[in-house]
Symmetry: C2
Subunit: 425 residues, 2 copies
């Protein structure tokens, strides 16, 4: 008997009909002889509706109360899902984050899991019941308060449960068939990836692939949880995200490392250029300390070669939503840093090529740059890791760029991919 | 410094605007130097909407999951209320039933409070915060499961908190100005009652007055909590429901016992007559055992004088919703009981006159029957307690009856009462 953890996002449980459909799917897994634990998100737009209400009563709602409010969403979906399963003649028991032992720190709105003690979940499955756990939520033992895990929280709940319960697999149900070599809405010939290492998945998620949240992948990697990302609208096999050990996969087979696993794009970043920075030691440190204190997450950094003037320019990218805070923080300290002006550019796009085989294959960047050059696309910034190359271009050229690169690396499939609408949390 | 527990029903927190209005009201009480604890119901129709969803996924939802689902309602309203208060510059902390220590038995959907351990509420008010507690909900220690208190649950939460915290007063905010001598929608000259004993209030609630739920009044009486029933739409003083001790009220003043405190009506009952019952010992016991086993709550019982035939008729009243079950239970055992036929009548109305002064005043029933006779209203059944007389009449005569009786006992006020729309939970 296998123990399966399944996660269903908001779009999979958007209304009574979808909830009944998901209930059937869960019951099928149970009937196939598995023990089943389910993590579920709030229904469809519930979270957004609750957020709207919060902003109607208070412009800046208290984080503790916001968590109390938002966790009502999963409470509703999990109770309904449990009812729907019981209506099919199988025992089900729903548990809040706190009942399921999802212990977090006290960082409201973005809490991190510090321990998972799923005693009640274990009792439920030992008694033959299907356990339904509220995604996205936990509680802090010290304060006794309810917390939420932030974006991608329900994925993280599922992975953390799978790790604590030593599940055989953690199935992440979503509205696409799995992880694709590129976004199928942009690259029609993108192929579904059958297997990918968690390291590659981490780079793809960090580079803008939205199917899995980076925190969930990190957790799965650290705790060696195998993920199966698949569609709740079909019975197709999805993408297995696995953790190689000593060069072998979860079945003991040697790991195949594709040169390129996939191409991700990201249009959510902006670029700030600090113009005319005195080219003396410590200036970069000064600038990025200011930016970090503003709460901004810096991604790529490029420092231009110093001109004869003794001045240099420093460019960096960061989430668009962090740009204003960073600009303000730098402007306030303009005198102290001694730069000339700030330039803000929110029309950039990032393209990233990810693949573990890159480590041992020369010429990947050359092939990338050639493909972009031949498509007439200008590269503005470059950054690399061991298994990733990212380039920044104009935002309006990114779609052409990803199609060109996808073809140049032989990733195009034979048929067009099927695309579903909507996204889950 | 006084400790005040306030309760706001669903109609008082129906939308963001009402929540902000209630928040202001709570802050005023805090600013006046009081410690404030608030019990709040779910917003407007939330509970009904959740119930509809439940019935969409499962015709007979499991009681445990239904409680899990419905408790999301107060979670939403309490968090929003806490945010709205914090937005006015006062500290607020919301607590679920379980966080507030509302310990109940495991009877899902209709749990009874077995203990209240409001440690976190006490800490919050000791630190100067306003505590907001979810009405209607509790938890069972043995199972660790969430429970709900059933109808009138939020009133009961408020009263139980007031008792456990030894509050000076428990203010029940509603959409009417207090308890009236009769329903002002039926009797325009009904007067607001300034003070009423909990014993009288209990009889009024049991006789159909809907402003306070009978369980909450019972709890207040047993734990000697003083209630103040008032409108959340005005600043008028409402009705004080107090517990006399040794003939003195909560201020040590002698209790004034009005002959008649108020007149209540109830159109929610039906009458069943068991015709042709053998007039031998044990038949009534047999009949009412069957009815009780069907789950019906019997109210009034009348047994006709036995005729020369050796047969008698037994009539009783019960909630309309219980009638079908009782009829079925009796029909199944028709042979065993030996009755001839069953008559079912759902066109009855009940009028009750309540007043502690009745105990020491003769002639109350005579005056009641005279008033009804002079209005041409026929009495079908009569039942009395020490401080109440109830009569059953035709449903369509009840409104005339209550106006006639209200006038006959000198209860009519000088002006017409102001009537608001809507009711809270």
């Amino acid at each position: 008997m296998s123990l399966i953890v399944q996660k269903y996002g908001g779009s999979s449980v958007a209304n009574a009909e979808s909830i009944k459909r998901v209930a059937k799917r869960i019951v099928e897994a149970r009937k196939a002889g598995n023990e089943v634990v389910v993590a579920v998100s709030a229904m469809g737009d519930t979270t957004d509706e609750l957020l709207d209400l919060a902003h109607e009563v208070a412009p800046i709602p208290s984080p503790r109360e916001l968590d109390m409010l938002l966790t009502a969403g999963e409470r509703i979906s999990m109770a309904l899902l449990a009812m729907a399963i019981e209506n099919l003649g199988h025992e089900a028991r729903s548990f809040t984050g706190s009942q399921a032992g999802m212990i977090t720190d006290a960082h409201h709105g973005q809490a991190r899991i510090v321990d998972v003690t799923p005693r009640r979940v274990q009792e439920a499955i030992a008694e033959g019941a299907i356990a339904i756990v509220a995604g996205f939520q936990g509680f802090n033992r010290l304060t006794g308060d309810i917390t939420t895990l932030g974006r991608g929280g329900s994925d993280t709940t599922a992975v953390a449960l799978a790790a604590a319960l030593e599940a055989d697999v953690c199935e992440i149900y979503t509205d696409v068939d799995g992880i694709f070599t590129a976004d199928p809405r942009v690259v029609p010939r993108a192929r579904k990836i059958d297997r990918i290492t968690s390291e590659e998945m981490l780079e793809l998620a960090a580079s803008g692939a939205k199917v899995l949240h980076i925190r969930a992948v990190e957790y799965a990697r650290r705790h060696e949880v195998t993920l199966h990302v698949r569609s709740s609208f079909s019975n197709n096999e999805g993408t297995i995200v696995y953790n190689p050990r000593d060069g072998r996969d979860e079945n003991g087979d040697p790991v195949e490392e594709p040169i390129i696993a996939g191409v991700a794009t990201d249009l959510s970043e902006a670029k700030i250029t600090v113009v005319g920075v005195p080219d003396v030691p410590g200036k970069a440190a000064q600038i990025f300390t200011l930016v970090a204190k503003s709460g901004a997450n810096i991604d790529m950094i490029v420092q231009n070669v110093s001109a004869a003037t003794g001045l240099t320019d420093i460019s960096f990218t960061l989430p668009k939503s962090d740009a204003q805070a960073a600009l303000t923080a730098l402007t306030v300290e303009k005198e102290a840093v001694g730069f000339a002006t700030l330039q803000h550019d929110d029309q950039i796009g990032k393209l990233s090529l990810v693949g573990a085989g890159m480590r041992t294959n020369a010429g990947v960047s050359a092939r990338l740059f050639t493909a972009l050059y031949e498509s007439g696309i200008n590269i503005e910034m470059i950054s690399t890791s061991e298994i990733r190359i990212s380039v920044v271009t104009r935002a309006d050229t990114v779609q052409d760029a990803v199609r060109a690169v996808h073809a140049a690396f032989g990733l195009d499939g034979e048929a067009e991919a099927v695309v579903y609408a909507g996204t889950g949390r």
